[in-house]
């Protein structure tokens, strides 16, 4: 039955966000170009996250984070598939020809602030923030990549993660240690992966 009392702020917002999602899907269904479709998939993701965010409890926060993780992973995979399909292999020219970026110390300072802040935050959020700082640094200042170091970081983060899982299982009284270990592990893992994205920029080094 139609109940005027049910049309509170929450329902109206839900209706608006659903309308946005419908518009985005409509545009997606009419689009033929692949890169445009990739952009529209990102557009569809935003109202979908809005529907979750409108739940407005801790549950929403717990559901938005995996949604974002899946979204960024999906986008990375799809963009890589797109590049392979189109046969685009050459790396774009690195370095921004912007005075404030190239001549000043801004990239270093901002990258350091973001990385330190990300380490304080820890978890996936901190990994994203710290990784963003590293992406910016690698892109602005160039890089001498050392992939074995990053592989080592990923391996170490795996080990920390499994160890904290075992702590959860067998020594539940040290749960705080396990939470810190898991948060640090995810931080290391996400940061390593994101900075790998940054090193895909720039001239080929061979």
């Amino acid at each position: 039955m139609w109940d005027p009392g049910a049309w509170n702020l929450y329902s109206t917002g839900m209706l608006v966000v659903l309308a946005c999602a419908v518009i985005a899907f409509l545009a997606l269904s009419r689009e033929r170009d692949d890169l445009h479709r990739l952009l529209l998939i990102d557009l569809v993701e935003i109202p979908s996250l809005g529907i979750i965010a409108l739940l407005g409890t801790d549950l929403a926060e717990a559901l938005v984070l995996p949604g974002l993780v899946v979204g960024i992973a999906e986008l990375l995979a799809l963009s890589q598939i797109y590049l392979l399909k189109e046969g685009l292999r050459e790396k774009p020219e690195g370095r921004l020809p912007i005075e404030v970026i190239e001549l000043g110390h801004a990239p270093v300072i901002i990258a350091v602030i973001l990385v330190v802040y990300g380490i304080i935050l820890s978890g996936f959020t901190g990994g994203g923030v710290a990784g963003l700082g590293l992406i910016f640094f690698f892109m602005a200042k160039g890089h001498r990549e050392n992939f074995s170091l990053m592989e080592a970081a990923a391996g170490v983060s795996w080990a920390i993660w499994v160890a904290s899982f075992f702590v959860f299982m067998f020594l539940p009284e040290y749960w705080w240690l396990a939470v810190m270990g898991a948060g640090g592990g995810i931080l290391l893992k996400v940061t390593a992966k994101m900075s790998l994205v940054g090193t895909m920029w720039g001239k080929p080094h061979e």
């Binding site: 917002g13 952009l39 529209l40 809005g50 965010a53 938005v64 923030v129 994101m194």
Partner: protein
């Protein structure tokens, strides 16, 4: 009835329409228009006090922009 909530919904609608049916249909216009609903979602999350989600979304949306810029630079603008 918080102002953040209403503003966020308004930006979400404007941005979605602008990004779904942009005036010039090219990649750069769509990429910039995509940031408007992002800010709208940020405001909606703010009105529900979801600080951690807000943080993560801000970081991830910029990484998304970077991935798109990388693809576009490799492809070249048509």
């Amino acid at each position: 009835m918080t102002p953040e909530y209403l503003l966020g919904l308004a930006l979400l609608v404007i941005g979605t329409i602008a990004s779904a049916f942009p005036r010039d249909k090219d990649y750069l216009t769509r990429l910039i228009n995509l940031e408007i609903p992002g800010f709208g979602l940020l405001l909606v999350m703010l009105s529900y006090d979801e600080a951690l989600a807000l943080f993560t979304f801000a970081g991830v949306s910029v990484i998304t922009t970077f991935v798109f810029v990388r693809v576009m630079e490799k492809r070249g603008i048509p």
